[in-house]
Each structure stands twice: as C-alpha cells, then as structure tokens.
Amino acid sequence: MSQSPIGRAVRYGLLAGLIAASVSAIGMVETFNERDIITGFLTLGQLLLYSTSIIAGYLAVRTKDNEQLNAGPALLNGFVAGLLTAVPVIILILLTVAFPTIRNSLVNVSPALINALTFGQGPYAGSLILAAVMAVLGLAGAAFHILPEKVEKPLFNGVMATLLVGLFSEVLINVFRPFPRQIVRIFFGTKGIQPLIAIIIFVAAVLITIWWEARGEQRFARRRASLTEEDKQRNRRITLIASAVLVLAAPWILGLYLTEVMDVVGIFIIMGLGLNIVVGFAGLLDLGYVAFFAIGAYMMGLLTSTGELGIAGMNFWMALPISVLAATTAGIILGIPVLRMRGDYLAIVTLAFGEIIRVLAASDLLKGAIGGAQGILKIGKPEILSFVFIQPQHFYYLILAGIALAWFVSSRLRDARLGRRWMALREDEDVAEAQGINLVSTKLLAFAIGASFSGLAGAIFASRLSSIFPHSFNLLISINVLCLVIVGGIGSLPGVVLGAFVLVGMPELLREFAEYRLLLYGALLILTMLVRPEGLWPSQITRRELHADAEEAAREGPQHEDIHPLVG
C-alpha cells in the first residue's frame, strides 16, 4: 500500500504533538525542567518536549522502501510534521485561556508550565513562537535524515555524547568530588554541564567518529586479525582483570550516594538472576516473586534483631543461611500446589501468593510476632571479627559476592542437565515428560533455586536498612524484577544486569524519573517489544529464535537440494 509522504508527515506530526501535549499535561515537562543538561541552555524538560518534533520530522521523511525523497519535498515534510507537533500543545495552551478552571481536573497544568511552553510571551504570541520553533526543529529532523550517512553518523554521536554527559552530570560531579571545587565548576554548573564544555564534547565526539569511520575501524580490524590466539587470550585476561579491579574499586570512586544506588541495583540483580531461572529458563511465569524476598528479609530480621521482636539474637552470618533456607522452603511450598498449572493460571496463583505474604506481614494478627505495620527494627549488621558492615561501601562487597554466587549457580545449571530439563519444560511440558523428565522435581528445583536467590537478596536488604516494613514488599517489586528480566533479555544473565541498571539504576539517579517510574517502565517495555523483542542483551537462544526467518532464508539458497543420507 503506497502512502503519500505528506500523509505520513501529518500522521507523525499529530502523533508526536499528542505525546508532547500529554507529557506536558501530566507535569513531566515541568518536573524535568528542573534538571539542566547544559547549564542555562537546555533542560531535560525542553529536551523531552522538543525532541518530539525533531523525531516527527525525522520519521516523516523516512519511507518504507527506503527510497530517497528529494531534498525539497523532504524538507517540506519535516516542516509540516514539526508544525503539526505544535498544534496539540497550542490547543492545551489555549484551553487554559478558555477555561481558567482547567487546573481542577488537570492539576499539573500550572501557570509555570504554560509560561515555559510559551516562552513567557503570553498565550497568543507564545503559541506562534512555539509553532515556529517546532516547525524549524521538524525541518532540522528532516534535514538530518537526508544528510549522507558520512555526515549523519558523526553528528548523531556528537549530540548523543553531549546529551548523555549532560544528563548524568550529577553522577560525574560526584565522581570528581575529590578534585577542588573550582576545577569541577569549570566543567559543570550546579546542574548540567557548562556550555563551553558541551561544545567541546560535541566536537570531540564528532571528530572521533569521523576518524573512526575513515581510518580507525580498519586499523583496529587489521590489528585484531594479526593477533595470535595467545595474544587474544592474554588480552582477554587483561580485560578481565581490569574490569575486576574496576568493579572492586567502584565504591571508592563513586562515593557514598552512588554506591548506595549501586547497592539497590545489586539487590535487584540478585533477584533478577533468581527470577530469570524461574521465568527465563523454566518458563514458569511467577508474579509473586516478592514473597520470597519478604520471607528472607523477615527471617533475617527476626533472627538478628536486638529489638523486642528479635527471637534469637543471632549474628548475620548464622542467620543468612537460615533466611535463604526459609525462602527456599517457601518456594517449594508454593511450588507444590501449582505443579499442574500453566501460563495464566500459574501467574494468577503466584500473584495471590505474593499478596498473601504482604498482607500477612502487615496484619494485626501477627503483629506480636513480626511487628505488623510497624515492621522490625534494629536488625543486625554483618561482622567479621571486630569489623562491622555499616557503610554502603561495605554492603557493596557483600552484594557483589551475592551476585557472583547467583551468577555462578545460574550459568553452571544452565549448561548442565538440569538447565536442559528446564528449557525442555519451557518449550513443551508434555513432550518433556514423555521423554522421561520428572516434572515435579524439575519444577520444584526451579522454584526453590529461584526463591533462594530472592531470599538471599531479602536478607541482605533487611540487614542493610536495619529495619523492614511490610510496604517495602509490595507487588511493584515483583513487577520491577519481571520487567528488568524482560527488558534485559529473557533467559540472559548479562541481560539481567543491564536491565537492572536501566530500570532500577536510572530512576534512582534521575530523581525526576522516580515519579514517572511506571510510565517509564510501560514506555520502555513497549519500546523494547517493538524495537528489540529479544531484549537489550539477549541470550544466544532468543536471538536465534527471533531472527530465525533471516537465518532460514540464508540456509534455503545453496542447501536446498542436498540429500541427507538416512543411515550414516
């Protein structure tokens, strides 16, 4: 079906405009305006708002069969798309003029927002300026697309590098904290990077890309090709040692606040690795995964608390295996009744199990034993001889050890007989059983090992915070963990780590995101499913699975007529 280019421009323009108007109306633009990317020039809110017209302009020029539009019509398309992006936003602005009471229903449509949208020029003049700005940006998006790739790529990398450095400038300021304040000030404003530095980063990224494209890539490939197997092995070892040193030194480079963020991410990585076994390897959709996290945490709390709820006054190291064991047992107890359930039914029952545990923890019934809504206080910290783990940095290493253990167990089991049984179960339960696989033990092992990782994460979590409350163990944790497994790439161990950094680390670093965390998850999930259905860092298997068509097409050609002997 052919589609007139201008029709695309109208469609993309209005769609992008609706997105721009919605993110404005829900307050995202205003909240994000508080974060500078380039000090005094560009805020995150502006970036969010105006990128819609740039993208609309860019997409409006792209044709399905990749035929190049001529420059004239292409620029016109971009212009129209950009202009139309402004329309829904202007409607929003004019609505506030027509109905001053609109804030009663759209609480986030504040005067400050309208002021920002209209450049402080009042609704009418401001709307015109906005339309002009967006049209020009749409034009820029289109122009960007029709540039030859040689120019497009360096520009793109330049813009991206500048934006990324700007976005995470708070992190970088933290990393550079040992340097004198005046020096740091040269690079960064109170928020965001200084304009001059932004330009330098942009130019540097552009130049590096140009060099890489022209010379570097070939030179690198040539050097790689000339390496002997021994050299390669040595390089690999050096990389491994270097990254190990970096990971070990990270808390002292990153500082207190960022290490704290890393700790949270790490706890989610341990949980993600556990859920990855249940969902990714064995294909059992578990929505109540937080229950085991809670059980691990409460067990650690009860066993080590020096408060009135403490029952044993154990030290952390004794309580840790008991907490993990408790979670594992809970995994088996949940596993037994759901052995015969599949798919949706399994998801619903596990969901309910997670809720039951949370409601029990908060209930007055068990208040005497586990504290009800007041939770458990004064939970013990790990000690080695006279050294006590207090700081986030100390817990960082504990969590790192937990991740290493979970990773080791996951990867060993994946490549072993049990891993194959899990995968067969995921592929076809009936056939797996008819091949002699015992479903009961295979499923229970998946639930139990998955739960044990979650219990480990919970126990560390409890000790790290010293106190736990039932509301920390809500459904959202299960959803978070599931999302990071899916976004990272289901069944993939590096995917879990990457997913945790993106879905847990990012909202922690960019506080403005936290409020819109669920929106971000939703958008990211949809985007991942559309653009990279195999996840950010897919396992070998899923990559093959989702690109099977291409592979098959490649196989078809030359091998089509060969005859396989039946008996070798």
């Binding site: 080791f408 089991l413 007989r417 194959r420 008819a434 002699g436 696989i437 396989h564 002997p565 039946l566």
Partner: protein, 266 residues
C-alpha cells in the same frame, strides 16, 4: 517368522471422553523386535491408543503390560524410563533448542548426574556429560543430520525435523519405539528413505517398533503385523496380505459398495 516374546500387551483397553468411546475394548500383542502397524480411518482412535500407552491418558478399563509389568496409571516420565518412547503426528520438537540439545534431552532416562554435582563439575558429572555429548553426536550422524548440531530445531527443514524427532526418541535407548505417522507430509522419495530407515533401524538394533501410518505403501512394505481400528474397535488383525483382502477393512476404508469389488489400492 518365529514369534518371539511379547513386549507390549494391551488387554481390552477402553478410553472414553465423556460419551465418546475413543478406544473400545482394544487388545493387541506386539512381539519383541517386530515392526507392527496400527491403521484405520481418521478418528479411529489410533493416536488415542498411543497416548494411552505413553501415559498421557489414563485408560478407563483394561490393562497394558510392558515387559510383563502393568503400566496402567503410570506417569509419562515413568513409562519413558521403562523404555517406551515416541514421536508425534504433528512434529513436537523443542523448537528453540539446538538439534544436539534436543537429543540430549532425549537421553534423560539414561542420565543420573545430580544438579549439585553439575554445580561443582565433579569428575563423574563431567564424564557423563562428555559421554552424552559423544552419543548425541553419534545419533545425529545415524539419522543423517551430521553437522547440524548447533542448528535450532525450528530452523531445520521438515524432513530433518522428522528425523530429529526419531533421534530424540532413540536417545533414551527405548525397547519400544512408537512412531505416529513418521512419513506424514513427506514426498515419495523421502517416504521411501524413511521406510528404509525404519527397517534398518530394527535390523541393526533389534528395537521393537509400533507405528501409525496412513501411507499404505509404507504399512504394507515394512509391517510384519497390522492391526486395523475403526471407531475405536479392532476390526482386523494379521499379515499385510491378509489385511489387504479383508472385506471389513475395505469397507471401513472405501465404504460398503466398494467392498464387493476391490482390494486396498497400493
């Protein structure tokens, strides 16, 4: 041919689904190292009987003996471990696993290494894995899939998928192999190859094979004994020549009018 010992013995098997009697008072004896077939029109209850033997369905009446012991009410994995493995009418491979992994899963009844041993890669665990890999490769060659070990099962051509399914079933070292329409969807050349393969398989290994098949050329060519099902009831039993001329069978297949004047067309 001298009849040897009976390997599988179904006695008056009845399987009902609500009011429908899918298998009705069905008895059959499968001698050791024989190739036997079950034929019958669509919906006659052939696959249902297979599902009863492999443990997917619990039979309502009667009993099934394998190697002299009853397997009634046993779960599929227990039956598989006793030595009955099967293939499926619609290919059911583990599509997102590689060819070699499919065969390794098939080897499940023979493997004993525990998961804790595989965590530490104990010597015995390593040895078992190596032996399993070697045997899987042998099987791959045996069914003519040499060099395709790392290919995803879903990406194999149709004929290769059928072969892989047989290899997966053979991997568990079964005494009895149930093949549910092994040549369905194959062209005449592939059908001939597969028929020859089944015959050689039995001749070389002495395995017992029970198959469901629609292609009369295959059935008449390799079966030593044929059982005919219609509406869940056994209507005939015997050697291929006997079945070919049996008026009841011809009627079931071609209708009453044809029964007077024809034999089953080869």
């Amino acid at each position: 041919m001298v009849m040897s010992q009976i390997l599988l013995e179904a006695k008056h098997v009845v399987k009902r689904f609500g009011g429908l009697v899918a298998v009705n008072d069905f008895s059959v004896d499968i001698p050791e190292s024989s190739i036997c077939s079950i034929i019958g029109p669509n919906g006659a209850g052939k696959t249902t009987f297979f599902n009863c033997v492999s443990g997917f369905y619990n039979i309502d009446e009667g009993d099934i003996f394998f190697n002299g012991a009853s397997i009634k009410g046993r779960s599929p994995d227990k039956i598989a471990k006793r030595g009955i493995l099967r293939t499926y009418q619609n290919i059911r491979l583990f599509g997102n696993m590689s060819t070699i992994e499919n065969i390794l899963v098939g080897m499940e009844p023979l493997l004993h290494s525990g998961w804790i041993a595989s965590l530490f890669r104990t010597p015995s665990n390593r040895r078992e894995e190596e032996e399993a890999q070697a045997r899987a490769n042998e099987l791959l060659n045996f069914v003519g899939l040499t060099g395709l070990g790392d290919t995803l099962a879903d990406n194999l051509p149709y004929g290769d998928q059928r072969r892989l399914e047989i290899a997966r079933a053979l991997a568990g070292n079964p005494d009895l192999l149930l093949l549910d329409e092994p040549t369905a969807g194959m062209n005449p050349r592939e059908t001939a190859q597969t028929t020859e393969f089944i015959r050689q398989l039995r001749d070389q290994t002495g395995i017992t094979i029970l198959l469901i098949e629609h292609d009369m050329r295959v059935v008449m060519g390799i079966s030593e004994n044929i059982t005919v099902l219609d509406y869940g009831k056994k209507i005939a039993e015997g050697k291929p020549e006997e079945i070919q001329n049996d008026p009841d069978v011809i009627e079931a297949y071609l209708g009453r009018g044809a029964a007077a004047s024809s034999t089953i067309d080869l």
